[in-house]
Amino acid sequence: MYGALWRILPGPVWVRVIILIAIAAGVVYALFTWVFPWVDGIITPRDVTVEQ
């Protein structure tokens, strides 16, 4: 999977590394901005109150 990604990328090693870092940054940005807040709303939030 990741091996295939590495082979698809063009250019020498340092170009591929830069592209991969850019892709990873984009993925993390998307996760932090949209995916994680959405997931957070679905899974039960932490309960802090006392109640019966």
Binding site: G3, V28, L31, P45, V48, V50
Partner: protein
């Protein structure tokens, strides 16, 4: 990761690119599992630190903005002629008017919790209040109001979502818990901690754990989750009212300098 293949050497010899491109089911499954593990760790990091820090900053800003707004309104009403900075102002003014769920009517400030720990207190303890970017601390409906005889009970997160009571276990005897409302400043002094199960609603009683008794003291009760990063138990902090001063007298001396920077 390619699996050991008895034919690998011959394949590599005959057609190297074809051999490298071989994809095994187990290999892809392994990579997917690794990815899932990394995503879960990343989510925990986002929830417990990244989003926590963002929410803490926003809740802190919202609280200091509200504090500054009230100070401004009080100046507009009473002018700059401040009441004497020291003195006995008698029994505290108690605002017993009904507040709608989610309405911020007070601000909590505990110096022990560190700089930027001020939080707005809104009516209600649902997640719409506790997980809000504007408040973060909720007042248990039905419990008393700031300064009132009985129990002013509030709740906040201990970790994540801004963690309004993250440092609650660090409270020491006589630590100040300041509550600001439109009317003024209520100074509570921390007394003790208690660890209870999540169903221990007795801590919210006007006299904690003694719902039959008639209260004579004006106390504050903070509730949060325990242990840190868990919800198995609740940590409870009690304090008693020491003094009260009207808004026109300005904030208590200990935090006056800091409050002056709010909303600036």
């Amino acid at each position: 990761m390619p699996e050991p293949d008895p034919d690998a050497t011959t394949l590599a010899h005959q057609s190297a690119p074809a051999a490298r491109r071989r994809v095994s089911v187990v290999g892809v499954l392994g990579e997917l599992l690794l990815t899932a593990g990394a995503l879960i760790l990343l989510f925990l990091g986002w929830q417990l630190w990244w989003n926590d820090a963002i929410m803490a900053a926003q809740q802190s800003d919202a609280a200091s903005g509200l504090s500054a707004q009230w100070a401004e309104e009080d100046r507009a009403t009473h002018g700059d002629a401040a009441a004497p900075a020291t003195g006995d102002y008698g029994d505290p003014l108690v605002d017993t008017s009904d507040h709608a769920n989610g309405e911020a009517f007070a601000i909590m400030y505990v110096p022990r919790f560190g700089e930027g720990s001020q939080r707005g207190i809104a009516e209600g303890t649902g997640f719409d209040v506790l997980n809000s970017y504007d408040t973060g601390v909720g007042h248990y409906p039905g419990t008393q109001m700031p300064g009132e005889i009985g129990n002013f009970a509030i709740a906040s997160h201990r970790s994540a979502y801004g963690g309004g009571m993250h440092e609650i276990e660090q409270l020491q005897l006589d630590d100040a818990i300041y509550i600001q409302t439109r009317d003024g400043w209520y100074t509570y002094r921390f007394r003790d901690l208690e660890y209870v199960t999540p169903d221990a609603v007795g801590v919210l009683a006007p006299v904690p754990h003694h719902p039959d008794l008639t209260p004579t003291d004006r106390i504050i009760t903070l509730t949060s989750c325990n242990p840190l990063y868990s919800t198995a138990e609740r940590i409870i902090a009690y304090g008693v009212l020491e003094s009260w001063q009207p808004a026109s007298a300005g904030p208590p001396a200990e935090i006056a300098a800091q409050v002056a920077t709010w909303g600036a």
